[in-house]
Symmetry: C2
């Protein structure tokens, strides 16, 4: 067992952990960063496609215009970005009928459209009432945390088409079923990411901008000045503290420090043995933030051929598992089409053999775009529920009734243990930008004390 | 690291693990049982009160008349039991007014009474529709798993008094808030334990019978023939399997076997490192069964003095945290009064200093029973959220939307890993009897293969 002495230990080299590290580095703090995997990024992971050689973000990939912290990095390090393709006509596949539309709202019958519009306006209005710093403190918190979004949709939306669209939108944003989250969590999350339109949108929304070299590349550049401080393949088994010192143990390292920042998803914190044990409230909190189930299926083509036919590459379908797609092709580059598979569908789909998944995605695209859709260079998919060191994606969602009971201690340090991770963010919770914010906040807590 | 070779490893020496062991022992299987604590029992724990010397079950304590498996043990080993005191008048404390009543339903105004009665009848009727073997398969499963009990109560009960009583009942049975569980989970659990009346009741209900020497004592007697096979203070860190063999590691033991039975609450399984990693669906399931928060506060008196005043010792109050009490005095013995503190209240109450908790319980009893209530011999309380090797009590409750997505794999073996624990029981899920059933079932799986 090798012993290391330092000032601060950061656990997890995702966006949150690296962001915390930048602040400690700027302040000349001594620190080391322990990462379970053999790479940085966590739920951010850029891979190279086998045949086409294209870089593909199998994890988080987009940034929105109001994600100021990540934009600071983009500008500082001058990494190349491009706008996600958002022209042409979208496809809406509902009850076996394929229709086209423009903008963000599919072409439904007028009553369904009205139904959806009213519901979205009501949700937007309610979400503005959320105090992002303390969602549990608002007037209706208890009521709103006691109702699932599944119930809310049933009780407040009348038409099947509008309900279906709302479910698809929710599943795409939260990577879980509407029954798994409360109205309060939904509203918090929407407000945290500006609003529901922003979360769903491409232009001016959370899916606006992409990285030429992937989002893991930006993180590598940010981490470069202190890359010697990152130790890979270090799964943290235990953390003990005695008021003065913190000892973090992995299979082959024992690191002593004054402070530790845990930059992991809350559910994963249960895998660490804490001594003394965590306060009961914190332990029970970690039992109540299950990870979503997000899967991305990419098909790479010679060219984004659908554009020639006038299509945007954006599809909304009520037919599981391929509900929502985006065109992620680089400017003047190969055609890259991305389908999301979310929640229950993700867990089902990943259990099918790779060949079957590929065939399903290709034949679905053939349906929309014709036989050209079959002539692909690469098929790559990734389901984050399979990742031991993520536990799921995009984020841990509070279960119904948990915000009001546990929200207040989500960010509270326990002795010399501080908590980062996008789930603890106030703005852009669940996104890379929120991860950065959480890392900054945790680092500031450490630096202040 | 000591190496042991055996046929079957059981993890956890609670009622489930010991029940599994009895079956293996009867079949002359070689096995060992690894227990994290220095005692058997898990969420069953009998303690001796300091001053009075009374044995007190700070964990599970009662058995009901239809809990046939535990009754088999009681009869076989001839352990002494007694009926929980269920005579005299009960107290109903609502909106500052103290009233008395007889039977199980507090004396409310007639409209509230009707409201409560109708709601309970509806719930009972629905619960009978649950297929206990497959709650996810019934007609309304998706709808019922998508609505929280908080919503159901709001939508289906009209009066504040009836709603309050329903919340108190639910919190007492599930040790969580109504917002944390779905209607489907509620109905499954009620049906699993006969029905809601049985779960709430003393005579003919789940609170009918108590053990003279405590419920841990019965387990010790059951475990006696194979007590040399139990190794204490063994926290399982990792379990690996390769199709032929299973290797279970603790800090100082490496045990090789053909099969392992994990008799832990599902949430605790997240603390074990599995190799290969568990299937994604099982990992995500374990993130979705948070433990309840149950706390028991006992006061021991020279005699059950309240009986002389005509009181049963059963109290229902709307004033947190002391909502429900029972008289657990042994026949002709000392007076033992038990208050339950559940869910949110349990987490709040245990954070108060012991002296304050004691004072609160005593002054509350003084309010109901007069100054005699202050002259106590012992005050003992226990909040199970503080127990690292339980994670909470009574049981792990499925979060809304989880039964329909994960119910089917709750009991499924993973290679040579089999799963016991009261949460996997079909009858009396969450109770000692369900734990025994789950241990038997897991042992049978092992013996058959």
């Amino acid at each position: 067992m090798n012993k290391i002495e330092t000032e601060v230990i950061i656990v997890g080299a995702g966006y949150a952990g690296i962001a915390a590290a930048t602040k400690l580095f700027e302040s000349n703090k001594n620190f080391i960063l322990l990462e379970a995997r053999d790479r940085i990024g966590g739920r951010v992971n850029t891979q190279k496609a086998e045949n086409s050689g294209e870089t593909i973000d199998v994890g988080a990939q987009w940034i929105g215009p109001t994600q100021y912290l990540i934009w600071e990095w983009v500008k500082k390090y001058q990494v190349e970005t491009f706008d996600c393709y958002d022209e042409g006509i979208n496809i809406y596949h509902y009850k076996g009928k394929i229709k086209t539309y423009k903008g963000t709202i599919p072409k439904m019958n007028p009553i369904a459209l009205l139904d959806l519009g009213i519901a979205m306006e009501r949700l937007k209005k309610m979400s503005k009432k959320i105090n992002l710093n303390a969602p549990w403190s608002i007037a209706n918190a208890e009521k709103w945390d006691g109702i699932t979004m599944d119930s809310w949709i049933r009780n407040n939306m009348l038409t099947k088409a509008a309900r279906s669209a709302m479910h698809i939108g929710l599943e795409t944003v939260f990577a879980c079923q509407a029954s798994e989250i409360s109205l309060l969590h939904f509203l918090f999350y929407c407000h945290s990411g500006d609003d529901l339109d922003a979360l769903l949108g491409v232009t001016n929304g959370a899916q606006q901008t992409l990285f030429m070299k992937g989002s893991q590349n930006l993180l590598s550049i940010v981490a470069k000045p202190f890359q010697d401080k990152i130790i890979f393949s270090q799964v943290v088994n235990s953390i003990s503290q005695n008021g003065e010192k913190v000892i973090v143990k992995t299979d082959n390292l024992e690191v002593h420090a004054k402070k530790v920042i845990i930059a992991l998803a809350p559910a994963l914190c249960q895998k660490i043995k804490f001594s003394p044990t965590l306060p009961q409230r914190k332990s029970q909190l970690f039992q109540r933030m299950p990870m979503g189930a997000a899967m991305k299926c990419f098909v790479i083509y010679e060219r984004p051929f659908w554009r020639n036919k006038g299509y945007s590459g954006q599809i909304v379908s009520d037919k599981p598992p391929l509900h929502v797609s985006f065109d992620c092709s680089k400017p003047d580059g190969r055609g890259i089409l991305l389908f999301f598979v979310e929640g229950k569908n993700a867990r089902d789909f990943i259990e099918r053999p790779l060949e079957e998944r590929k065939e399903k995605v290709l034949s679905t695209l053939q349906l929309y775009f014709g036989n050209e859709a079959l002539k692909h260079l690469d098929y790559i998919d990734k389901c984050w529920t399979e990742e031991e060191y993520s536990g799921g994606c995009y984020a841990g969602n509070f279960t119904p009734g948990s915000w009001i009971q546990f929200g207040e201690i989500l960010r509270s340090p326990i002795g010399n243990i501080h908590w980062a991770g996008t789930e603890t963010a106030i703005k852009w919770c669940g996104y890379m930008d929120g991860a950065i914010a959480s890392g900054y906040r945790a680092a500031e807590e450490v630096l202040k004390s």
